[in-house]
Symmetry: C2
Subunit: 404 residues, 2 copies
């Protein structure tokens, strides 16, 4: 097929790691490599909650594509994907159209509003650098404004987080650290602030042992977070949220609702006509779409099951590991070598609870809490940076302040 | 009259310097001294434009009262003055009432809306720490929001400053420095920003020589500031301003209008029934109100004329120099010593044009521009800190980075 053209869509965890690996595995004589992304930077989705709370600058979280991709070897196109046409082997971008021989789809997730009225208009989400930065500024603006108004509005100081999953809890942890700083900065009495988490199920952090979830709750409660469990967010308005608990509707006045509950795969997947389940492509063991031998799907757009038929979670860890399989199998398509099956190495999961606390479920179901978990989280973060951009990137963006 | 009670209203330049001097001049056996202020800090009004632009943190500008006043010697009351009743020798505060024997009024200025419709509702002013902090946050919020919206609104990036006087120009100078930083922080192209100054007269900075005013204009223009002179602000709405020039009405879409034109003395002066001219008490040469031997007025609430009948400008320099006269004459009232007349030592005026440029009219009408004027401005600022709180305060809050 001549010199095949490989097109990678998306520079999230899966996409950019695939591109980085392909650059190393293939020579320019083997294939041409194109990476498409709507920003000229990659960002670490798992750090965004820190940018949103204002505990970490967003420039620490994003990495210019050109710092990890060799633009001499790889063509980088800064554009938005509009549609994917696998039958024609074409991808439509906002400004152009691409023809591919081999496609890797790593377009990540979108927010799912889960039937909550007004969510799209009035709630924030933590899904991108722009969103995270806006949440930070929104909080600061409201704290400044509170001080400025004659009639002081609790809406400005109440913060509601919808969903007690991974993102919600990690964001609450950062917020709990950040609030005392914000109060000092804007001359506000700490007791005026309300941080409320609304969670549908009886407990937070599904996927963690009950014991660890309880540790997380009491760690956050001790820093002022209120949990309202077995409650459903019903409506989000410009100045309040309404939730239902025990059959009753309750209102909380707030200008700041952060929706950290529902995510779904990028809706372009569905529109592409790829066989999907709840928006995700149930890929084969070699990470290819079931109907197309030349289309790989990775990360949050892909669903792959373990030997018990349970899907692996949509985490950065899995996406990064999948990139190894995808890159090898792209190469196999080109040089006829053998295809590999995806085999994850589950290293466990750590959820941070702010700068000074964390919980972790690690290998052999060992549990970690407190500073050991904080340290492990930083090791995981730094390990990724090293994989992505080597020692230089690690030194520039790594987290080394292990005592804080 | 037993042990007289001295009450100083306001901890601005005039008020706090009077209190600091009285603490040194009088012993506790001579009199009791009470200072009333609505914040527990003094702030340097002349630095607020830096806080508003975001080039200096507001904590650098404010100084806790307790750091310069000895609370063992002086009673400090954190409260707002509601009314002054000179006939009854009483001052009504929000939470209590004070009886005085000698009163010093240093309640500063208020914004005058000068007949511009909607100004109070929709424009910002730079008159306090809260206001300045809000302007900073408002700018950041709008820059963040601009990036976030599908339909990008120029309202978020246009900044209109009403008035080309001292405050307006100094604020524009800081803004011109700050905008490139903000653009980098929020990923905005610098060419999208519009900073507009609207000034009624044909030139800016009345009180400075034409040559210096022109220097200031071209310094600011070279950094992107647009001047619209001989134009009158007519109306301020939530999303635009309307000005009139050459008989035509012109609109500028903006969420950020900063009103830096009209100020007037605190309106409590008028309400107190003190003899006033345009809200200011035309004090005697010893700084006492014409009708009351026990009431001193200082700073922006007082008007005092030079030998040609021209009022001294309402500057920090004059207020600080007046405090010397006021403190001595308060003592004279108590111990029967001789009254002094106010004699200013006019050291000239420096207007900053951002961190790296300034203009100055100094002694003997010498003119300074550029780094020499920047340096002089810092010397003036540091000199005040030294006077107010000695070496310690100077070291903590002073401006020493003379090369930037």
């Amino acid at each position: 097929m001549g010199k095949p053209r490989i097109v990678v869509l998306g520079a999230g965890y899966g996409g950019i790691m695939t591109a980085v690996k392909l650059e190393k595995m293939l020579s320019e004589h083997d294939a041409t490599l194109t990476l498409v992304n709507k920003n000229d930077y990659h960002y670490q989705t798992t750090w965004l909650h820190e940018n949103a709370a204002g505990t970490l600058h967003h420039d620490r979280t994003r990495i210019p594509v050109k710092e990890v991709i060799n633009l001499q070897k790889t063509e980088f196109i800064l554009d938005t994907v509009v549609s994917i046409k696998p039958d024609e082997k074409k991808v439509k971008l906002a400004d152009s159209e691409l023809q591919y021989d081999i496609l890797v789809i790593g377009l990540g997730f979108e927010t799912a509003v889960c039937g909550v009225t007004g969510l799209e208009e009035h709630a924030f989400t933590i899904g991108s650098i722009n969103n995270a930065r806006l949440i930070k500024e929104h909080l600061q603006y409201n704290f400044a404004k509170y001080q400025h108004e004659e009639e002081q509005k609790p809406e400005r100081l109440n913060i509601v987080v919808g969903g007690g999953g991974f993102t919600g809890i990690e964001f609450l942890g950062e917020l709990a650290n950040r609030i005392p700083e914000l109060c000092e900065e804007y001359d506000i009495n700490k007791t005026m602030i309300r941080i409320v988490n609304i969670e549908k199920t009886p407990t937070i952090l599904p996927g963690f042992d009950q014991q660890l979830a309880e540790y997380a709750m009491s760690s956050l409660e001790s820093r002022g977070v209120e949990f309202i469990t077995e409650a459903t967010l019903k409506e989000c308005k410009s100045d309040r949220v309404v939730y239902e608990k025990d059959g009753k509707l309750v209102e909380i006045p707030t200008y700041t609702t952060v929706w950290a509950a529902g995510v779904r795969a990028n809706s372009l997947i569905e529109k592409a006509g790829l066989d999907h389940s709840q928006g995700k492509v149930k890929v084969r063991q070699d990470m290819r779409a079931p109907d197309y031998d030349d289309v790989f799907v990775i990360g949050d757009c892909a669903m792959i099951e373990d030997k018990n038929g349970k899907p692996y979670p949509p985490t950065a860890q899995i996406a990064v590991q999948e990139s190894e399989t995808v890159a090898r199998n792209v190469k196999a398509l080109i040089d006829g070598s053998e295809f590999q099956s995806f085999k994850p190495h589950l290293l466990g999961t750590v959820a941070s609870l702010g700068q000074t606390d964390a919980i972790g479920n690690v290998l052999n179901n060992r549990q970690l809490v407190g500073w050991k978990a904080v340290l492990l989280k930083k090791i995981i973060d730094n390990r990724y940076l090293f994989k992505l951009g080597g020692f230089n990137l690690l030194m520039r963006k790594g987290k080394f302040n292990i005592f804080h």
